[in-house]
């Protein structure tokens, strides 16, 4: 690291007096005003540590217990190793090497769209999701929900038996009952048969459904997704004049504008978009021309946090601004009068953006959020066409869904038919409408119409809908069944199972085979037989299964005569701007529409920006909160029409004024032991007319709701932790990242330096690319067997994540956030590690490759190391957080990492198990470990390629190249800890035209 301008004789300042000049970065209101409560919080190692002992133990009793513990503690360690069984195969599968994981390509779906993934399998147990480098929607990365989906496979709350009226039945009895009921339908052509599914892109399932509709021509197939992409597909279809869908090629986009679109972390193409986006955020690489992202959004999102310019406005205002943009660009039908009732700052902003977009014709892209109106989507297609982006950065293709549907129209029609008594047989596949249908449709009552005599619920768990159906058929997890699905660009992705169904569940393919009168055909054959005809040969099929993708299956581009966006512009223009408070309803950033509610990893994953866990709170801007006299933790009654909901409030810096945001997916009653009774059921406010938002009024009804936000946990007391500059400033002052804090030379230590003759592992994190999407956090949890602790323990500051993402805000005022910075903090692997010096039992020691090894079996739990760690990256098992009992959860664990017990400290090890594997593999082949041999879990998952890892002794390694940059700095360099994990200061690419105005 270059630090010529530092001298070693400068007295070390006490940290509290470190000069905090320069831009101010803060994490919360309490920190910004430096309240006493905040000081109290940061000066304690574990805030709220002294959780009172249950039952009011007095001091005498406490001492007795401690004495007994000390006396017996040693004795308990004296166990003789139990005898273990070792069980070989009877016939070992060919090519399987026991003790080495295999990787298989498969597909995970969300809302019907496929994510191309690789699954790590240990002797037949799928344990970890990784991206499929050969899949266009992944390119090797993976988002947090897909990453966490492997836990759902082993969820002990999955339904394990087929039931009829709550009683266990056999599959055969269901086949008989269904066949009998369908037989009765045959005479009417299936007039009383209805099928409700989620959004389906699977070609083989669609073929089965088509056959079903051929067999029962009067039957109907409906689709419903709670977090639907209806607006996007409807909007694109109107624009194209035929069923259509839009996806983007952001690698070539120099300027991007997001209209309340969190496109880097949400939606089927987000991982690919993030890849393409991230590759253009390497300011230090002279070959890379940085892109520029403008973000208009209501609630702060990951995409907003990385934007070069971000403006908070309500969704209604954003639509008007889009219209103003369209008018500026000369989109047909958009008039300049559109922006008359917008504020000046926003008008100026959109003017500048319009100029910038215009000067990058064909090399820019405008994106609208899936929760915006269909009209906005139509208008955005018009804008992109006007900018010459269609065909270059924006692709208009045939629809990806097998049968493009309007979810709301479908559901309305179904409810009407149910109420009208036209439905005798209702089959629901993978949907939970009783929980997530719009409240005005009252799906539960419609289901209770006695004329519907045969109701089947096919789902992974006996959810809210299951009790209303006579039959519940356990559905397979995607790792248990054959299938297929299409990715965001239409690429057909094959889903191969990794394990036999754990509980005898059936796939939708297999249930539909019963409907088609061919029960008993295995899912494998159904999918194989569908494709073998099209692929031509068994060899091609095997190739496709191996790769996970069917080559050349991307959606066909549409050639359209013209884009019809005029009517959409008129529709937006005629919408009045709401005068009062608006509610924006959004899918949850972690548990989505509630389908992941029982997934502990996702529940405990701090939600982007708000850092809330285990809850959905009503997000409200500081100014709006002040106007309503509200603060975080207050309970409000939300009134929307005649619907009300009481909900906790979370004051969110960066949120737009005049709008509040509530996330779906909570308030579930039959999700399972993890997800039940958490948060608030925002769905109860949602009607089919106010699907993504409604005018609301708030009334304060209470205070003191405990919210588990990790935002203030593990504070490092802002000491130049975040460094950023504009790309121009960086070009002029390449050394800027080193001008703020004191740095030491390597010789400044009382201890002799560690020699590193072989490998010396190091990591660099490019803050210019980190969106804070949490994919790394969940990847780390999955790879390293990290425990979930629960809401109470999170409130006590005891979450176990080895890698956290700190959220910093800039701006002089709490209400006006200027920027956001994400700072991922794993263990810094210090060269002069404070933790190592204080461990009385040498349980954390320096390795010969520069890691701060953590030896669990030596740790006695003094927590001195954590106390002495300035980065607050050590996590202590205060209780037995790991589930050592549930058999299915044991299957999930990574066998290469120790499962930690109570009383043990743990922390990031740079995925030392992967290092060992790479070192051993290299040793076997008598070569050195090559750059790229070791990929840490976080690095692998990162969709924006913001993490480099490797051997810093290797001058050719990517990480070495990163660390040689002027941007490279270390956290708390004034402590002379000399971390191995360093950061590349964040470089923004702002538009000077907007800088002046701000």
């Amino acid at each position: 690291m270059a630090n010529n301008d530092t001298t070693t004789d400068t007295p070390i300042e006490s940290t509290s007096k470190v000069d905090l000049t320069g831009p101010k970065y803060w994490r919360s209101l309490e920190e910004l005003v430096d309240s006493d409560a905040f000081q109290e919080e940061v000066t304690r190692e574990f805030p709220r540590l002294a959780i009172p002992l249950a039952g009011g133990v007095d001091r005498r009793r406490f001492l007795q217990l401690m004495g007994a513990s000390m006396a017996l503690g040693g004795a308990a360690a004296c166990t003789r190793q139990p005898l273990e069984k070792i069980v070989p195969y009877v016939r070992q599968p060919e090519q399987r090497i026991p003790g080495r994981p295999d990787f298989y390509a498969t597909a995970a779906t969300l809302g019907g769209y496929a994510a191309g993934i690789l699954i790590e399998s240990h002797e037949g147990r799928p344990t970890k999701v990784e991206g499929n480098p050969e899949h266009p929607a992944s390119l090797g990365a993976v988002d947090l929900r897909t990453q966490a989906s492997v836990l759902d496979l082993y969820d002990p709350d999955r339904s394990q038996t087929l039931t009829h009226l709550g009683r266990i039945r056999t599959w055969e009895s269901f086949v008989d009952a269904l066949s009998t009921n369908l037989g009765a339908q045959a005479s009417t052509g299936g007039a009383g048969l209805r099928i409700l599914t989620g959004s389906i892109t699977s070609p083989s399932l669609a073929a089965q459904l088509a056959s079903t509709l051929e067999r029962f021509p009067q039957a109907k197939w409906y689709q419903y997704e709670s977090a639907t992409r209806r607006s996007a597909t409807l909007g694109a279809s109107v624009a194209a004049g035929q069923p259509a869908e839009v996806h983007y090629a952001l690698a070539d986009a120099d300027v991007l504008l997001s209209l309340d679109a969190d496109f880097l972390t949400q939606g089927p193409g987000s991982v690919r978009y993030a890849k393409d986006f991230g590759r253009r955020r390497k300011a230090f690489d002279s070959k890379v021309e940085m892109n520029r992202l403008y973000c208009l959004e209501s609630a702060p999102t990951n995409t907003g946090s990385i934007a070069d310019h971000r403006l908070s406005r309500t969704p209604a205002q954003i639509e008007k601004l889009a219209l103003a943009l369209a008018a500026k660009l000369g989109v047909a039908g958009a008039s300049a009068a559109a922006s008359s009732n917008l504020d000046d700052a926003a008008k100026h902003w959109i003017d500048v953006v319009a100029k910038d977009l215009q000067s990058h014709r064909g090399r820019c892209a405008v994106l609208a959020g899936d929760q915006m109106s269909p009209e906005l989507h139509t208008l955005v297609v018009g804008i992109n066409q006007q900018l010459g982006n269609l065909g270059s950065t924006v692709h208009l293709t045939e629809p990806i869904a097998a049968r493009p549907a309007d979810d709301l129209a479908d559901l309305r029609a179904l409810v009407k038919e149910l109420e009208g008594g036209q439905v005798q047989v209702l089959m629901m596949f993978g949907v939970n409408p009783v929980y997530d249908a719009p409240a005005d449709l009252d799906f539960a009552s419609a289901l209770q119409n006695p004329t519907t005599t045969f109701k089947v619920h096919h789902g992974a768990r006996a959810d809210e809908t299951a009790p209303y159906c006579q039959w519940h058929i356990p559905a397979t997890h995607y790792l248990e069944a054959w299938g297929d699905a299409r990715a965001f660009d239409g690429t057909t992705t094959l889903q191969q199972p990794l394990i036999e169904p754990l509980y005898g569940a059936k796939s939708a393919h297999e249930v539909l085979a019963v409907v088609l009168g061919t029960p008993g055909i295995p899912g494998a054959d159904l999918v194989h037989d569908h494709w073998i005809g099209q692929l031509g040969s068994e060899k091609a099929w095997r190739r496709a299964v191996h790769d996970g993708v069917i080559a050349g299956s991307a959606a066909r581009a549409l050639t359209v005569a013209g884009i019809n966006s005029g009517s959409a512009a008129t529709a937006i223009a005629s919408r009045p701007l709401p005068s009062g408070l608006e509610l924006a309803i959004r899918p949850d950033p972690t548990v989505w529409d509630g389908r992941f509610a029982n997934n502990g990893w996702l529940q405990e994953c701090p939600k982007p920006i708000s850092k809330l866990t285990w809850d959905n709170a009503l997000l409200i801007s500081p100014r709006t909160a002040a106007a309503q006299n509200l603060q975080s933790g207050d309970l409000v009654r939300i009134e929307s029409g005649d619907r009300t909901l009481e909900m906790a409030v979370h004051v969110q810096p960066g949120h737009a004024d005049g709008v509040v945001t509530a996330h779906l997916g909570y308030g579930r009653t039959r999700a399972g032991r993890v997800g039940n009774e958490l948060g608030f059921d925002v769905g109860s406010l949602r009607t089919s007319d106010t699907f993504w938002g409604a005018p609301v009024t708030l009334t304060k009804v209470g205070t003191g709701y405990p919210l588990a936000s990790t935002q203030e946990h593990f504070s490092m007391e802002n000491r130049h932790l975040v460094r950023e500059a504009s790309v121009e400033h960086y070009r002029e002052h390449p050394h800027f990242a080193h001008e703020v804090a004191h740095e030491f030379g390597p010789e400044m230590s009382m201890f002799p330096p560690h020699p590193y003759e072989g490998n010396a592992w190091g990591m660099a994190i490019n803050l210019s690319a980190c969106t804070g999407c949490n994919a790394c956090v969940v990847a780390c949890q999955s790879e390293n067997n990290i425990a979930v602790v629960g809401k109470e323990q999170v409130i006590a500051g005891r979450e176990m994540h080895w890698l956290r993402i700190d959220q910093y805000f800039t701006g002089e005022d709490f209400g006006d956030v200027e920027g956001m910075v994400n700072l991922p903090v794993p263990c810094q692997q210090c060269e002069n590690a404070p933790c190592e010096l204080v461990c009385p039992v040498a349980a954390t020691v320096h390795s010969d490759e520069g890691l701060n090894d953590m030896v669990y079996n030596r740790c006695v739990g003094t927590r001195y190391c954590s106390n002495n760690c300035p980065y607050k990256v050590r996590r202590f098992n205060f209780f037995k957080y790991q589930d050592f009992v549930t058999p299915s959860l044991k299957l999930q664990r990574n066998p290469d990492v120790t499962v930690r017990f109570r009383g043990v400290m743990e922390k990031c090890t740079y995925c030392v198990q992967r290092i060992s594997q790479a070192r051993i593999a290299a040793g076997r082949e008598d070569r050195a470990v090559l750059d790229g041999d070791v990929v840490t879990a976080c690095q692998q998952a990162c969709p924006t390629e913001a993490i480099a890892f490797g051997n810093i002794n290797d001058p050719e390694a990517e990480v070495t190249r990163w660390k040689q940059q002027d941007l490279n700095y270390s956290l708390l360099s004034d402590l002379n800890t000399r971390p191995r994990t360093t950061y590349l200061a964040r470089i923004n690419n702002p538009n000077p035209a907007l800088e002046d105005h701000a």
């Binding site: 005898l83 069984k85 070989p88 003790g99 390795s847 090894d853 120790t898 060992s916």
Partner: protein, 216 residues
Amino acid sequence: MSQIFHPSTNTISRVSIFAVVLTVAFAGWIAAALDRSAIVTRKNVILEQPVPFSHDHHVGEIGIDCRYCHTSVETSAFAGLPPTSTCMNCHNELFKDSPMLEPVRESFRSGQPIEWTRVNDVPDFVYFNHSIHVAKGIGCTSCHGKINKMPITWKAESLKMEWCLACHRDPAQQVRPREEVFNVNWDPSSITDVRRAELIDEYNIQSKTSCSTCHR
């Protein structure tokens, strides 16, 4: 006022101080000895197995190579325990009516694996890797002893950490030419210390004693 303590108390107190120290030291010594004894380590202890498999017969007398059964020893952390089908390769012809082998045949018929009792078992927080030791010229017998003389398999070494470290600190003790790794009759005295030092260089053997080498 009379004395509270009798003069002999002085002696008693002196003796008892030493007695306490000695007792504690003795208890510590006993504990350490116990910990290293076969009671805890099961070194040289014969464990009951479903089939009395004899390495003495298969390796010593017949001369089957280790890798015929332990197939993944060169490629994986785990050396591999032969599937029943490997046993049946020979035993569908040889001793095919032996009652001793009935569990093997039963396993092959029913598809239920044979459950062996694990002999060489390190704790779960230790990640031993066979392949790298084999690749670096550490022979099977270095850890598994004279396996070709074991009519039933027992643990030849304690597998305690001090035992592992003895070699990790000085790998030259146990290194042998790669081609001799699977030779159970190899005589360590057949090469000189000079040759051992050469092998250490040739095979690029490092003395890995960092905790994370084995614990993670």
